[in-house]
């Protein structure tokens, strides 16, 4: 039977290298205006290199929300946003960033006491939205514009949903090719837009160089994750969640290649020395859903206590430069479009199911945990269908629980415990049946 002992997840040590890069990035961002840099607000996909090539700073809304939450400063901006009428059921990333933006623009009310990160956000000179599979992103940026009460130059890249029409499958078919062309055309326009905002011709050489870095980091990450197909897995989904920054808002940031190389080396070294992510791996789990940032350590240890490794996830393994080979640094727009179009949030149901089945097979998955993020409906769609079909087609059992990305008021800890423990007990019963 599943007995929970206090075991701890053996997290990657090299993960700490990322902290240094994250700090550098925030330092640069906070001082952007002082150094004469324009600040662009972005939401959705990692498009930092577009701005970095023009020597502009960028704030990624979700990355900012996650950072504020990781520093446990999220409550005050969330409360402020709610007091200003942004409902609690709205995307918690959006609420967090909106609250921070309002602190910056409207001042901090006397009854709130926000932390330093939550009040340091510089005002935007432009907004670029690049959201797949969710209508909240564009509306969030619209609301940001209203907060600052002036017309802010705004470019919205529309990422069309890859439905899988007329036999179009993952990275194949007419629908896919048409979508790629459509997004490439928009990227060409985005570059013209950034030339106007920055007031100088686009620096293609720098952009190509940055996309070369992006490709390298993307490849290193995918190779490192693939080493975890081994049993027991040397690293877990929680390590890969921590490693999201270098392929998300830190894309192509100086030092990301070295940081990811160090991660891959550590994973390889663990593999060579038989060191595993959880002390005694008995079960291999797939995490379906977005990450819950303020519960990351708790979750990692919880699964370790049950001798279960969360080896892969839709959030980490199906996005963030997950198809690095498609990037040609000389002609980068097509590769960027492919990575963004074929990401976890933008795939129609049949393609999503096929990708999850492939990953489940590759990573020898025993069970799936569905995290239904309360304020991210996009990520929770098709959970029931996936649970049903993966059980029917592959005999994989699953459990689901409700949580959130950065609003921990949606957790009922004991409900989460029961659901995870029930899955582990059920997997144990399955193993004893043979």
């Amino acid at each position: 039977m599943a007995v929970q002992e206090a075991k701890r997840a053996n997290r990657l040590k090299s993960g700490k290298l990322v902290n240094k890069l994250v700090n550098e990035y925030w330092e640069d961002l906070i001082n952007a205006k002082k150094t004469g840099k324009k600040v662009v607000y972005t939401t959705g996909l990692p498009i930092g290199p577009f701005m970095a090539a023009q020597d502009m700073a960028w704030i990624h809304g979700e990355g900012y929300g996650a950072r504020v939450a990781a520093r446990h400063e999220e409550k005050e901006p969330q409360t402020f946003a709610e007091n200003k009428g942004f409902n609690r059921e709205l995307c918690s990333y959006a609420r967090t960033q909106m609250g921070c933006a309002m602190f910056a623009e409207l001042g901090v009310p006397d009854d709130l006491n926000p932390g330093p990160i939550a009040t340091e956000i510089p005002a935007p000179d432009a907004i670029v939205t690049c959201y797949p599979g969710c209508s909240t992103g564009p509306q969030w940026d619209w609301a940001i514009e209203r907060v600052f009460g002036k017309k802010i130059p705004w470019f919205n890249v529309v990422i069309p949903y890859h439905m899988g029409r007329n036999g179009s499958t993952y990275m194949k078919g007419e629908e896919f090719e048409e979508n790629v062309k459509y997004v490439v055309r928009q990227f060409e326009d985005l570059i013209k837009f950034l030339e106007v905002v920055s007031g100088k011709p686009y620096n293609w050489d720098k952009f190509q160089e940055l996309m070369g870095v992006t490709k390298k980091v993307g490849k290193l990450r995918m190779e490192a994750m693939e080493l975890c197909k081994a049993k027991p897995a040397p690293a877990s989904f929680f390590d890969w969640s921590i490693q999201i920054a270098p392929v998300n808002y830190l894309t192509a940031w100086p030092g990301t290649v070295e940081a990811m190389q160090a991660v891959k080396d550590e994973v390889q070294e663990r593999l060579d020395n038989g060191v595993s992510a959880v002390p005694n791996e008995k079960y291999r789990i797939f995490w379906e859903g977005i990450m819950n940032w303020n519960k990351l350590g708790w979750m990692a240890d919880k699964f370790a206590s049950y001798d279960a490794t969360v080896v892969a996830g839709r959030y980490t393994h199906m996005a963030f430069w997950h198809e690095p080979d498609t990037i040609d640094p000389e002609h980068p727009l097509r590769g960027i479009a492919i990575n963004h179009l074929e990401c976890q949030l933008n795939l129609g149901y049949p393609i999503t199911e096929e990708r999850m089945m492939t990953l489940s097979k590759d990573y020898s998955i025993d069970g799936i945990v569905f995290h239904g993020a309360r304020t991210c409906r996009s990520f929770s769609r098709s959970h029931f269908l996936l649970a049903e079909n993966l059980n029917k087609k592959m005999g994989i059992q699953s459990t689901s629980f409700e949580g959130d990305m950065v609003d921990d008021s949606f957790y009922k800890e004991e409900l989460v415990n029961t659901r995870i423990e029930a899955l582990i007990e059920s997997l144990e019963a399955q193993k004893s049946r043979g």
């Binding site: 309360r374 029931f384 049903e388 029930a422 059920s426």
Partner: protein, 302 residues
């Protein structure tokens, strides 16, 4: 209290610390139920749990030290210090249901905090399970809140709802929204019995989706407090198109399963102790030997 325990007979206990009730079941070494108790107090009340334990012990004529092993289940399972192990209600309901009705293949439990459908194998193990997705949607809490809004005792809603032949739909399963929906139905002049019947239909519709996820296999048993609500049982039978077996004491099935697990663990421990005792008997004292410091050695009988 005199101890009834001896080396040939032992007792184990299962304790279900549920969200609204405390339940305890004691079984003997032959896995026969000796006593059981259900106590209701506040939310995950330790007091209710302790009262249920004391009551079950008293009915059995036992003292706590007569219990060889205890397993706890339910939301407060981790807080029970006397338990050797704790297990989720999913495993315990499957085990308890299988004990009472070995052919059972599907177990439905509508509990205070969540509702679940469990596919059970012939040995009483969980084959698959599904639980309600978000918040209190489709749980006992949903019924409790709405019963309060209608000013009806929870224990009465089942029988009352059977008096209705109207077809009222409650579309929202979010407890908060459903409460306002109920209030507006009252304002529109619908009767309490009709609204209650609509509530049961709404939960049944929700449960149909969960049953679909694990695959409907008969016979079906309903366990937990929800099974005492005749209106809900009838609505479920109609929606699922099956007849549902209701045990005499549906609320104790989780505690019963826990007691059975406790029996498994205790049997395993006793077997180990007996083996060690057998091994002890096989120790042969060594003859004194002046030149050797070894005082005895072990000889395996076989």
């Amino acid at each position: 209290m005199t101890s009834k325990s001896d080396r040939s007979s032992f007792y184990t206990m299962g304790v279900d610390s549920g969200s609204l009730t405390g339940k305890a079941v004691i079984i003997d070494g032959n896995r026969q139920i000796v006593s059981h108790s259900v106590k209701q107090l506040g939310f995950v009340s330790q007091k209710a749990v302790m009262m249920a334990i004391d009551d079950a012990l008293e009915k059995a004529g036992l003292a706590l030290e007569d219990i060889t092993y205890t397993v706890s289940t339910g939301y407060g399972r981790k807080r029970l210090e006397i338990a050797g192990k704790n297990l989720t209600e999913i495993s315990c309901h499957a085990k308890g249901a299988n004990y009472l009705y070995p052919e059972v293949k599907t177990v439905i439990d509508i509990g205070g905090q969540d509702s679940k459908v469990i596919a059970v194998d012939p040995s009483g193990n969980v084959k698959n399970f599904a639980m309600n997705d978000k918040c209190a949607a489709g749980t006992g809490q949903f019924l409790e809140v709405l019963a309060r809004a209608l000013d009806v005792e929870l224990t009465e809603i089942g029988a009352l709802s059977l008096q209705s032949d109207a077809d009222i739909k409650i579309s929202s399963m979010c407890t908060t929204f459903a409460e306002s929906e109920v209030i507006s139905l009252v304002a529109e002049g619908h009767t309490t019995v009709d609204i209650l019947s609509g509530m049961h239909k709404a939960i049944s519709g929700r449960m149909k989706g969960l049953v679909g996820r694990v695959g409907m296999q008969q016979p079906v048993m309903m366990t937990g407090g929800g099974a005492k609500n005749i209106g809900l049982v009838k609505a479920l039978e109609k929606t699922l198109g099956v007849s549902i077996f209701i045990p005499d004491e549906p609320q104790i099935i989780g505690a019963l399963g826990a007691a059975l697990f406790a029996n498994d663990f205790a049997t395993g421990i006793r077997k180990k102790v007996e083996e060690e005792q057998d091994l002890d008997k096989s120790r042969v004292p060594a003859k004194d030997c002046a030149s050797c410091s070894v005082q005895n050695f072990q000889l395996n009988k076989n």
